[in-house]
Symmetry: C2
Subunit: 473 residues, 2 copies
């Protein structure tokens, strides 16, 4: 498959030039003195917490970030390459509520988080485990990060996402990862088993907690998303281009910081900006402007030679209904076609990041599988053109019972997770269920069949000891 | 917006070369002697009903079809250009059943057809009225075409779709259009107020009814879609490339016929092939392979310089649920990004063409609006980059109350048909309805507010007289 380029090269250049002008003349606020000190030392003009960047300095530092790198899972078959022609799907992130067909909407718990780890582990399409897939509201604040990291490590053998709220959460995640791999922190920088998301404070600012985590992870050589979620018309200009300039300035400023802290820190250029729902002044992630931003983010990141994050199975809907389906597919397909490398919120998210849905997790997993099939691409080689088969069958013939069909359909066709393809009569006879109901059966079936992936007993015990020492029983 | 190209140019060339080989060595069956006679006269090798084409002849004839043309509506503001950078959305076509939230699934009637004409007329995104949006099962077979054409002409002032089942339906549609415009059939060929869809009999064949209509419309200079709906693994090879070769051969053979009948007949290169659902041996229009075929169809048609048709808001789902939403968006977005010009089934279709849904009509209309917003594109000019506004607001400011936002949000942002963007609490308070329920309210509201567009009384009377004379009261 070739890549989709929404903007022309000239337009990308113009957005880039405008971004450099903003970084040089408007500047970015860094609400954390250690970060300001880093910029000062590097020769930036500084005025209080406001930092101004010369175009040369920005381009020099951004060029130091790698264009491709691999996250090593504890099961090496699950390693994930970020960049190049790869795409990685990662589940929902951050919702304080959870939703399912049986119990409706409620505050999420540690049990929900663990369930989502298991669903992400079992998924064909999820490459990386969360990452706060549902906030464990029943766990005291102080130990939430450790509990989530432990569950991500134990119940899945894929790479995972680290804690992001402050330098301490970053430190804790790094220490736990070193225990998991039984290695030094220096050796961990070679493995990079996790990646974290650090966010700007739009417009054109960063707060102390995010900067603390950015610097902590950068010092340890851990990969991180430098992420801007702007709301066009609320926190950035109402135009897509103006929003892209602000998003771009924020992300580049953050990437410069990572490279100044540790040259070569792996980063992801992360943009998830969208339009405001003007009637409410709130974010609309299901707006078509979100898809435009996703395509542009992929292009800008390519321009800088850095892996990109954007899109996701995101929706403003409060239910896993047709709105959720169409909005989720819009952003997920756009991310896939545009060459986005890292797609956060690829499964389960509802209500513009406020709730995680069990049924939508399965429905979105189907969307990801379909998008992966499209991205796999096609090559018109003689075997695929099948001229001999066409000549053999001839006009008026059929291919259903042809050996060529039998031998090839498994590799040619996408195999759905939920089989909802039969005609009306058969479907009705079996109960006539919506995909939401089919998904409800499916997630329960997956959790029923779940088996914990093997892990050295002493790693588990060491992790538990670490948590006990820190937080008690 | 730039266009998406799924296949490489070399792959398009290879599919083209393979197609010419099939047309020359395998041939196509034409089950209608007048068509075979046309080919014989043009110098084709003929064996019974099988016709073989030389590559030169195919390319010579295909080059005669126009790359762009305009359908004239009875309201000139509704004229629709087919080709170039334009995209036209057209509602569902052909379903014998209808579906709504209040009454469930049932056989469709003339009242349903008329309702869909009114919904298509009222839609911001539908450019052309159907076209058998729901089969009028309560009308005797003989007069169904006339009744539908009459309703399309009376209740909407947009271009419409003509009857396609046999030469007689084509003739009748042409005669009624000449009455509507009060002009000769020769003058009608300048206006082209309608377009029709004529289908192949896959693999590599055409039947008498379709050929009769193709030749009738071509003689009158009326635009038509030459359309192949192949089922990969059932009626064409299981590979996408093999399916594209057969689809391409069928469509090109039909286009050659139109040009031999009347040079310059406006056509649309129409491909709606998809994968088989192997477990049932039936068509799966919601498969990701459908999106691949749509993208390839756009590319092949561009290669031949002919407007393309593909995609649509199509789904295998039996309900307007999340499956319907995601599958419909997949195909509609792919058609939009790939540069498809004519998107049939853009609103209302369910169950892989078997049912028309009132609620889905509205939901799909939203999908079309979103896709049009994406396609509108963006230009990074100084006004859109908004550097002055960014400098004025600065780091930490807000744009919601900024005059720039107020002055521009209406042109920058897509305005949803159904407002489902607010946060959970407000949504819940108002009843917490799914988009299906919102759509149910919406279509009733549109039908309630519907007003018949003005039309000269004598045209109406003349049309009624024509039908009375032919079919009685």
């Amino acid at each position: 498959m070739q890549r989709f380029e929404y903007f022309s090269d000239q337009d990308v250049q113009k957005i880039h030039a405008a971004t450099l002008q903003v970084l040089e003349t408007v500047g970015v606020d860094f609400g954390y003195q250690p970060a300001v000190d880093v910029f000062k030392k590097a020769g930036c003009k500084v005025d209080g917490k406001r930092v101004f960047f010369s175009p040369e300095m920005v381009m020099d530092q951004v060029a130091k970030a790698p264009s491709e790198y691999t996250l090593q899972a504890r099961n090496p078959e699950r390693n994930v390459t970020i960049g190049g022609d790869h795409i990685a799907y990662i589940p929902c992130y951050g919702p304080p509520f959870v939703h399912d067909l049986d119990r409706g909407r409620r505050e999420s718990t540690m049990e929900d988080y663990t369930n989502f780890v298991k669903l992400a582990f079992a998924s064909r399409s999820m490459d990386i485990t969360g990452g706060m897939m549902a906030e464990p509201n029943d766990i005291p604040h102080a130990r939430r990060n450790a509990e989530m990291i432990y569950a991500s490590m134990r119940y899945s053998d894929k790479p995972f996402m680290g804690g992001a709220i402050g330098a301490e959460a970053a430190r804790e995640t790094i220490e736990m990862a070193a225990i998991l791999f039984g290695c030094s922190e220096a050796a961990l920088a070679e493995k990079m088993p996790m990646i974290s998301i650090l966010c700007t404070l739009t417009p054109l600012a960063y707060d102390d907690r995010m900067l603390g985590a950015i610097m902590e992870y950068a010092r340890a050589g851990m990969p991180q998303l430098i992420s801007s979620l702007s709301i066009a018309g609320a926190t950035t200009p109402v135009t897509m281009e103006g929003t892209l300039v602000v998003q771009n300035a924020e992300v580049l400023a953050g990437i410069v910081l990572t490279q100044l802290v540790r040259e070569g820190t792996p980063v992801v250029f992360s943009g998830s900006s969208s339009a405001a729902a003007m009637r409410y002044g709130t974010l609309s992630v299901g707006a078509p402007e979100m898809a435009v931003n996703t395509a542009a983010t992929a292009q800008l990141a390519r321009f800088y030679g850095i892996p990109s994050r954007g899109g996701g199975a995101i929706t403003d809907s409060k239910l896993p209904d047709a709105q959720a389906g169409m909005e989720s597919m819009m952003s997920q397909l756009m991310a896939t076609l545009s060459g986005i490398h890292f797609v956060l919120h690829s499964a389960g998210i509802l209500e513009g990041y406020m709730a995680a849905s069990y049924e939508k997790f399965i429905i979105d997993d189907e969307i990801c599988g379909m998008c992966k099939r499209i991205k796999r691409g096609e090559t018109a080689d003689p075997a695929k053109l099948a001229l001999d088969v066409i000549a053999q069958v001839g006009p008026g013939g059929e291919y259903l019972t042809n050996m060529h069909t039998f031998q090839n359909f498994r590799q040619e066709f996408y195999a759905p997770i939920m089989e909802q393809k039969e005609a009306y009569a058969g479907w009705k006879e079996k109960g006539g269920e919506s995909i939401e109901k089919a998904a409800n059966r499916k997630w329960k079936e997956i959790l029923d069949k779940y088996e914990e992936p093997a892990m050295p007993d002493d790693s588990l015990r060491e992790l538990e000891k670490y948590m006990e020492k820190k937080y008690g029983n």
